[in-house]
């Protein structure tokens, strides 16, 4: 359900970065989405198609890349990636400590876009 406000923000950001004087059309938008976020790729595109009608971003394709979940170990400062399904067995692969801090894998970003 929260795909709608997120998609509104995406449209706002891309239009801001694509001034009408120099950009006639936004073709593709590259997004980065944290693996921990429950955003559905398909719904973001659906909402985007709807919201972008009549703008320079109409019919733009959204390309979504997932940001891996990354933790940093409190004990030895090692950074490591972990799959969502493996979160319950979270343990630093270097020293075995289970006290680790989440450092990446949340949030979403507009990385760049292809325009004409």
């Amino acid at each position: 359900m929260h795909e709608l406000p997120v998609t509104e923000s995406i449209l706002k950001i891309v239009l801001q970065h694509a001034p009408a004087e120099s950009v006639s059309k936004i073709v593709r938008i590259f997004l980065e989405v944290g693996e921990l976020s429950d955003l559905e790729d398909e719904w973001i595109q659906h909402y985007f198609d709807y919201l972008s009608k009549g703008t320079r971003a109409e019919k733009a394709e959204l390309v979504i890349q997932r940001i891996p979940i990354t933790f940093q170990c409190d004990a030895c400062a090692n950074r490591f990636e972990i799959k969502r399904e493996a979160l319950q067995d979270l343990q630093c692969p270097e020293c075995g400590s289970t006290v680790c801090k989440l450092v990446a894998g949340k949030g979403y970003y507009v990385k760049n876009m292809e325009v004409i």
Binding site: M1, H2, L4, P5, V6, S9, I10, K12, I13, V14, H17, A18, V23, S24, K25, V27, L31, L36, S37, D38, D74, R84, L87, Q88, L90, T98, V99, C100, K101, L102, K106, G107, Y108, Y109, V110, K111, N112, M113, E114, V115, I116
Partner: protein, 223 residues
């Protein structure tokens, strides 16, 4: 054919909301008002826990409640029976609150005269976890009938909360809910999370929770 070129954007999609949330936190700090964002599934017991919390702290703190619901006034009416001011926010279909909606809810309140405002977020373990409301601390309730496997299904929620209240512990004898397993799962995702076992129905554990909350409010107000 026109030439396609690449434009760097590198913008956080939530940057707008985060900026609003930060501005709200500065305003709360200036007014010495502690804002607690309470999240859970529907039916986990948010409203009843808020009623218990009001009962325990009303002599010590000036409180108010922001109730978020998709489309009803039921919860605000329950809070209003205590004489505590409750603001009802209808999210109109939205599954969560963000900083601008909270800002709107606060409009009806005199922040300078309040020590603690509790937000009862929309009942949902997914969407509210994604939006910074401007709260000083985030709390979640997981009730025993929901099962101890929820950190596996909704990991993000457990990573954003400062405190986890395991509610309805009076049901423990009737279920195979494993408190130790839940604690371990929650701690793995978030080693800094504070956990309380409570029953809003019997009152068990409420004193420990409200003592913790009072200390947080006091520290925030003196800091």
């Amino acid at each position: 054919m026109a030439k396609i070129r690449l434009i760097e954007v590198k913008e956080e999609i939530q940057a707008d909301n985060r900026a609003k949330a930060e501005a709200l936190r500065s305003r709360l700090a200036a007014n010495k008002t502690f804002l607690l964002n309470l999240m859970s599934s529907p039916g986990a017991g948010k409203t009843t826990l808020i009623l218990r919390t009001i009962e325990a702290l009303r002599d010590d703190l000036q409180m108010s409640v922001i109730e978020a619901d998709i489309d009803s006034m039921v919860d605000a009416e329950k809070i209003a029976t205590t004489g505590i001011m409750a603001v009802q926010l209808r999210t109109g279909g939205f599954c969560h609150l963000d900083a601008s909606m909270v800002e709107k809810g606060l409009e009806g309140l005199d922040l300078a005269s309040l020590d603690l405002v509790i937000i009862e977020n929309v009942g949902n373990l997914v969407c509210p976890a994604e939006f910074d409301t401007g709260a000083i601390k985030n709390a979640m309730i997981l009730s025993v009938p929901e099962g101890d496997d929820k950190p596996l299904k909704y990991p993000l929620m457990f990573t954003v909360c400062d405190v986890l209240l395991i509610n309805k512990i009076d049901y423990l004898g009737l279920s195979d809910f494993n408190v130790a397993a839940l604690r371990q799962r929650a701690n793995t995702l978030n080693p800094r999370i504070t956990i309380f076992e409570v029953s809003s129905k019997t009152g068990q554990g409420i004193a420990e929770w409200t003592r913790w909350l009072k200390r947080q409010v006091d520290e925030f107000r003196s800091g």
